[in-house]
């Protein structure tokens, strides 16, 4: 029997992880991406490898996924990660009121934390706000978004996946009964148009999933929710620094190479293709960031950017794999065969999103092939280019 | 464009480069001495055949120095030229031919220069 051919639309984190998982499970894989690898939301992430502690109080399902995936990614893709851990620091009395809930939540989610005295915390990270009242160590990390994605893509490619970058999906091919049998593509590098036929089309376009599903007359309740991030040109800590409180704007500051990156805000938009960087958001980042690390005020802005999270509307139809991300089999939700949509989620859980999506696809084809991505070390990101 | 790079290929090594640098520094040193000596011994310049011959005969250190100078300059110029040509990614075959050419030019120039020195010193003898 020849291999089943899966077409993955989108080479963001979800797309590359799905391509890797599909290729490992024996699918022939073609990835179609309108830009380079991770040019959209994924590339512009904050870069925090979540320990899950941020969600341990309000969203424990996410938190558990995060801590598990965090530990897996450290092992399978070490050359994209700064695995130096993180701190949650409490400064105000309001922050301290969150302390008990935080300890309970982390225990419930099995996130290993350790409380430090302010002196201990300042000894570890001398640039913290000296007014801090408490600090917890957490197993956070920092990742390089492009290299994380390239490692997945490189591994997929070594297992036969084909990548069409700078290639738009301009339409879906149907069998005449409304079922999806492939895509019409436009390679913008050479300005050539062609068709790709496959057994299943995976719509992994994140905040843009609606653009693809609308080609099949389907709507998916996605709310593109951008946030701003600002990079500053000095590395002031070795760990990711989080505010000990419920998630809010500008409450994560993390080191990356020689920079600190502060994020983020949250608002909703209609079209995620271009989102300007708003000046007041950038100001907010330096205000909030310097609450955690006062020395940030003495640094220079190096870059400011927006990324658009794909948040799933509350009344989402279809089968939900979990609250954190959703995979839709459009046969079940809209009676359209041949199209699966995956969206939502977070960078830290990219591998898990792929696992669940490919599980769903395997189930559709009555295949019983286990996922092995958690145990399979990824190739070096350079192998995406170097054969 | 190659996906996999060729193995490190010989053709230029630290030794050639070091010779280029050392000969360059020596050229500079000899040039400085040359100007000083010229200024001291031949203040009016060496603008006639007779003056040049007399100068070489009266100060034997001068032709010896000139001889060394010649060797340094020729070596430096040829290694330098070769380095410029290597920047142009010659094929190994072309490089081999050029290497023989460079060696030939170097030997010839040196022999010619030394012959010339003797010819000047012995002129009219």
């Amino acid at each position: 029997m020849s291999k089943l051919h899966a077409i993955v639309i989108g080479a963001g984190f979800t797309g590359v992880a799905i391509a890797h998982d599909l290729a490992l499970r024996g699918f022939a894989v073609t990835v179609v991406e309108r830009g380079p690898i991770v040019n959209g939301t994924s590339g512009r992430t904050h870069g925090l490898l979540h320990s899950g502690a941020r969600y341990a109080v309000n969203d424990q399902e996410s938190a558990i996924e995060c801590i598990q995936e965090n530990q897996i990614l450290r092992l399978i893709v070490p050359d994209a990660i700064e695995p130096n851990g993180g701190l949650f620091i409490g400064i105000t009395d309001e922050d301290m009121a969150y302390r008990e809930k935080f300890i309970e939540g982390c225990a419930a989610c099995r996130i290993p934390i350790k409380e430090l005295t302010p002196q201990e915390a300042l000894r570890l990270e001398p640039n913290l706000n000296p007014k801090l009242q408490t600090a917890f160590t957490v197993p956070d990390g920092t990742f390089d978004p492009l290299r994380l994605a390239l490692a997945f893509a490189a591994s997929a490619k070594s297992n036969g996946a084909v990548f069409h970058l700078y290639t738009d999906v301009v339409d879906l091919l149907t069998d005449g009964q409304g079922n999806i049998v492939g895509v019409k593509a436009w390679d913008r590098a050479t300005d050539k148009r062609f068709e790709i036929r496959g057994d299943i089309v995976v719509n992994a376009t994140g905040a843009w999933v609606g653009h693809i599903t609308s080609m099949a007359g389907i709507s998916v309740p996605i709310t593109p929710t951008p946030g701003v991030m600002v990079a500053y040109d000095q590395r002031l800590t070795q760990r990711a620094i989080n505010l000990l409180n419920k998630p809010g704007d500008g409450d994560i500051v993390l080191p990356q190479r020689r920079m600190m990156v502060v994020g983020t805000t949250s608002f909703t938009i209609e079209d995620p293709d271009y989102v300007p960087v708003y000046e007041d958001h950038v100001q907010l980042m330096i205000e909030r960031g310097s609450n955690l690390i006062p020395a940030l005020r003495q640094t220079k802005e190096r870059g400011a950017y927006m990324a658009t999270r794909p948040l799933i509307g509350a009344s989402a139809p279809g089968r939900s794999i979990s609250r954190t991300f959703k995979a839709y089999d459009h046969k079940e939700t809209d009676n359209v065969e041949g199209l699966v949509t995956i969206t939502g989620g977070k960078a830290t859980t990219l591998r898990l999103m792929a696992e669940k999506t490919v599980d769903l696809i395997c189930k559709k084809f009555n295949l019983n092939i286990p996922c092995t991505t958690a145990e399979t070390p990824l190739l070096s990101y350079r192998k995406f280019y170097v054969n | 464009m190659q996906n996999t790079l060729s193995q490190p290929k010989p053709g230029e090594s630290y030794l050639l480069w070091l010779i280029k640098i050392v000969s360059g520094v020596l050229i500079l040193a000899v040039l400085i001495i040359h100007f000083l000596v010229n200024h001291l011994f031949a203040p009016n310049g060496l603008l006639s055949h007779a003056e040049v011959v007399a100068y070489y005969r009266n100060y034997p250190i001068v032709p010896i120095m000139e001889g060394f100078f010649l060797v340094f300059v020729v070596a430096h110029s040829l290694i330098g030229s070769r380095s410029i040509i290597l920047d142009l990614r010659p094929s190994p075959a072309v490089l081999k031919v050029l290497d023989y050419l460079f060696i030939a030019v170097g030997l010839f120039a040196t022999a010619y220069g030394i012959w010339l020195l003797f010819a000047v010193i012995n002129f009219g003898v």
């Binding site: 990548f163 069409h164 970058l165 700078y166 290639t167 390679d187 590098a189 050479t190 | 464009m1 640098i21 360059g24 520094v25 050229i27 500079l28 040039l31 310049g45 603008l47 006639s48 055949h49 007779a50 040049v52 300059v73 020729v74 110029s77 330098g80 030229s81 410029i84 920047d87 142009l88 120039a109 010619y112 220069g113 012959w115 010339l116 010819a119 000047v120 002129f123």
Partner: protein, 130 residues
């Protein structure tokens, strides 16, 4: 994606095109130009000195022709090129042993400065000598 194989380069023009280049790039351009010029001069010079072996008439006639302004201008160029190439060579030699690399720009300014002073000194001498 059909990947073209040829790199996007203009070949030798990239050596000498000063647009958008920085101080060190100019240093390289002049170094390479002076290297080529001096090499050509060296072998011409060796050939011309052959006249010494042909006797006083040939050599003195050659010296007379060398007093033409065009030739003297050429000699001036040789002196400038020699000064620059020698001093810049010293700069690169020092740098290549790990010495004063962060000061390469200042060293280059020094090289150019001394070359200019030397050019004036030799120019004046050359004009007054004849």
């Amino acid at each position: 994606m059909d990947t073209p194989k040829k790199p996007n380069t203009r070949g030798i023009l990239d050596w000498f095109d000063p647009r958008g280049r920085n101080v060190g790039g100019w240093g390289f351009i002049i170094n390479r130009l002076s290297a080529i010029g001096l090499t050509v001069y060296l072998y011409l010079h060796l050939y011309m000195l052959g006249k010494l072996a042909q006797g006083p008439e040939a050599f003195d006639a050659f010296i007379e022709t060398a007093k033409q302004p065009a030739i003297m201008f050429g000699e001036m160029l040789v002196i400038i090129a020699g000064l620059y190439h020698g001093l810049n060579g010293l700069r690169i030699a020092l740098n290549s042993f790990g010495i004063a690399v962060p000061a390469q720009r200042q060293l280059l300014y020094g090289v150019v400065g001394i070359t200019l002073i030397g050019t004036v000194v030799f120019g004046v001498r050359m004009l007054t000598a004849h």
